[in-house]
Symmetry: C2
Subunit: 243 residues, 2 copies
Amino acid sequence: MSHLKPSLHTSLSPALLHLYNVSNTIVVIIDVLRATSTIATALYNGAKCVIPVDSVAKCIEIGKQIEGITAGERDGQIAEGLEYGNSPFEYPPAFIGGKTLVLTTTNGTKLLHMALERGAGQIITGSFPNLSSVCEYLLSGKQNVILGCAAWKNRVNIEDLLFAGAVIERVKEHFDSNCDSSAIASTLYGDAQNDLYGFMEEKKASHYLRLSGYGLEKDIRYCLTPDIANVLPFYDNGILTVR
Amino acid sequence: MSHLKPSLHTSLSPALLHLYNVSNTIVVIIDVLRATSTIATALYNGAKCVIPVDSVAKCIEIGKQIEGITAGERDGQIAEGLEYGNSPFEYPPAFIGGKTLVLTTTNGTKLLHMALERGAGQIITGSFPNLSSVCEYLLSGKQNVILGCAAWKNRVNIEDLLFAGAVIERVKEHFDSNCDSSAIASTLYGDAQNDLYGFMEEKKASHYLRLSGYGLEKDIRYCLTPDIANVLPFYDNGILTVR
């Protein structure tokens, strides 16, 4: 059996994750706009760790307990009671270095918790800013992989698929993949790769419309930039750190 | 408000249908390989109606009650106790004309029942063989639309997206669509439209592999052929008929 390649599947929404067996599997949590991009950035810039939580109340509570920086948005505004937002630009080294970021996001956090509850072998986070780190790890891991898209309130989104497709494009020779969702992601990425931002704009991606409506085009461009914060966040015991 | 266009969304899997409001909406049930292709074909060839049921036992029971033709497959074989299979080629006019087909399929039937239970305004079925009928109806209906992919045991598949994309391509000017799943389907169809079969083959679509493994390439080609059985099946009171 040693010549068998590990498997690779893509789950397009948290509402589909239960269809896949996550045990003994590396699950990559993908929330390109903006949770997993901001997580990579904070850690790349020297944050001690990032604690993802699913509510503003919990963010405030944990923030107090550990003297962490509390951050999170609801409908494009910093949530009441929190100090900072979801933009990667809020976390430069001079500010975030050595600190703990307590971050509340809806979609990414939900999927992180879900993967944990379902008994995933290992959980890492991915987005374009840490694309190469994710791919290198998957290639060295020789384990089954699930690319888990965080989507938007369970609705499938374009940008998470694009990142899944980018990963697949780089690792596919080393995996067996009988998975239409992966083929769809890969095809989409093939169409988009020369101009990811232009593709999001042209396709009127819902998240492109939402964030550009808030004047956050710069965030979108950053989150689609490969390897600009190339670290590998691992999720263990409720905490994201770079090993 | 009269200038507002109706909305169009695509649900990529039955496990995602609950995210969309189906009331006062036309839901198109899509199970290209092969349920909704075979349903269109049987009705086009003169079947009185098609009764979709979710189990072999119910298929046998209803078939006896109404002296219908019982049909259904499990793992590529005619299911034990049933008379015919899921192939559209089994239902030529000379055989199916004037008869009732009691058909058990897993994915398509499940989604038909789900749409009904959730209170869909109208439910029709679509596949390439009745593409134009579906599009004309959606254009004349001026109602909100959900394109509901039957998928495979809730896993997203390529061919149902391709059909959704083909519909979107033809009707999009008349709908508002802030829906990434629709944009994804549309993009995929754009890549595939010149050779749908070749695309399925190239992308190693799971259903292509499954059916071609049973020697059913002819069925796949048929199910991807536009307007070869161009009728519009409506689902009312548990029965599919052409109005």
